[in-house]
């Protein structure tokens, strides 16, 4: 069933567990969410002072957001607010944590894996690598990067954009006294970790510092309030579109039908083509621009197709019928 709906989950009062998998020994973790089929997960990891790891790579795309402390990675120093996207197979330098650090660590395609290596895997898509400090090197922008948009007072820094799935990783903040009086849902799964601050949603109540959610598609959330301000790290697994409404009682099936009805009205040719006989492409139709897109791991996972040794059952079961 992929990742279940985890919302809200406040991890601060939960204990860390010893990380006993090869390549992670000497660190501790908390699972924030976990895909039960593929092992893809979001973890909060505590690297104790003195933690060291040799150069190496993972078989999964990895994202890291440093919450506090200093992590030496090769010749770089990653500090509070540092974000990295490390494609599967890209070797990172030796890691050293002299005085302890905490980070949100995300494995997108499978369970945490580590292979000692000082060179990239021959198939690694190295161009997608990035590492920068989000607090220093990325400006806040208005939250209206999609339309319809959030209300004024919700700002965003896009950190990573996947051109195939249009998934984004981002920082967002809500100003003090932020309010948005609508109910929202999306076609994508949405994830958030509150770095600092408390916000409120009508369904789930307060989400404080250390609060987390993984929300599958088409689930109502909002209206929204934030009294004193919040800064958070967020992600989607595909394109974010805001479907706003004011019916507090709809369920994900009804919301999905409403989204499909919008497609029927707004993109009639495409809808008719997709719905007609003979155009049921289970692995996606050809795309002259992205000829190999069907092989992309995230695209495959989104459609419940196998990746590596995973069952490929991920989204097929999780997404609402």
């Amino acid at each position: 069933m992929a990742r279940p709906h985890i919302e809200p989950y406040v991890e601060l009062n939960e204990p860390f567990k010893k990380f006993d998998i090869a390549g992670f020994k000497g660190s501790h973790y908390k699972v924030l969410s976990l895909d039960v089929d593929t092992g893809a997960c979001t973890l909060k990891v505590r690297f104790d002072g003195g933690y060291k790891r040799k150069p190496g790579m993972s078989y999964s795309d990895v994202e890291i957001f440093v919450l506090n402390g200093t992590i030496k990675v090769g010749k770089e120093k990653w500090v509070e607010g540092h974000y990295a996207f490390i494609p599967a197979g890209v070797a990172t330098g030796a890691i050293e944590v002299p005085q302890g650090a905490e980070a949100i660590v995300m494995y997108n395609d499978g369970e945490p894996t580590f292979v000692e290596s000082d060179r990239n895997h021959r198939l690694a898509l190295t161009a997608a690598s990035k590492a920068f400090n989000t607090y220093v090197d990325a400006p806040w922008a208005p939250g209206n990067l999609v339309s319809p948009s959030v209300a004024s007072g919700c700002l965003i820094k896009v950190l990573h954009y996947d051109p195939l799935t249009e998934a984004i990783s981002f920082l967002y903040c809500m100003t003090p006294q932020f309010a948005q009086d609508n109910i929202s849902y999306h076609d994508c799964a949405e994830e958030s970790y509150h770095i600092w601050g408390t916000s409120w949603m009508m369904q789930f109540g307060d989400l404080p510092t250390g609060g987390y959610f993984w929300r599958p598609p088409y689930i109502n959330h909002g209206s929204f309030r934030c009294k004193y301000g919040t800064i958070a790290f967020g992600r989607t697994d595909s394109k974010l579109h805001n479907y706003f409404h004011y019916n507090p009682w709809t369920n994900p099936d009804e919301n999905k039908l409403r989204a499909a009805a919008k497609l029927y009205r707004a993109r009639p040719e495409l809808y008719q083509w997709m719905a007609s006989d003979g155009h049921n492409h289970p692995h996606g139709p050809p795309d002259f621009e992205f000829a190999d897109y069907q092989d992309d791991s995230q695209v495959r996972l989104l459609h419940g197709h196998p990746v590596g040794k995973s069952s490929g059952a991920r989204k097929k079961k999780a997404r609402r019928k």
Binding site: I21, V31, V36, D109, G205, I219, N220
Partner: protein, 88 residues
């Protein structure tokens, strides 16, 4: 077919499978605890919903950004029977 690094991943190691099994079990418990907590929030949520429906009919509903639309009473949906489920 373009090969990807993910396809070269060796079979899951025993320690990784044990890690996964343990954490899946814990996540199930966590999910149940969240469901219970959200059910207990029901009476308070009822009041929040009432307040929300009042706001959208007076100050308006955020249709896009800061653009507000006042909702007429006849446009408000009737509350269905049964519990208001928020976790799926």
């Amino acid at each position: 077919m373009a090969k990807r690094v993910q396809d070269q991943k060796p079979a899951r190691a025993k320690d990784a499978q044990a890690w996964l099994t343990e954490n899946i079990a814990e996540q199930k418990k966590r999910f149940q605890a969240i469901v219970k907590e959200m059910e207990e929030l029901g009476p308070e949520r009822e009041k929040w919903v009432e307040e929300f429906l009042h706001i959208v009919q007076t100050r308006g509903f955020n249709a896009d950004g800061d653009r507000r639309v006042i909702i007429k009473p006849e446009q408000i949906a009737k509350k269905p029977k049964g519990p208001h489920k928020v976790i799926f």
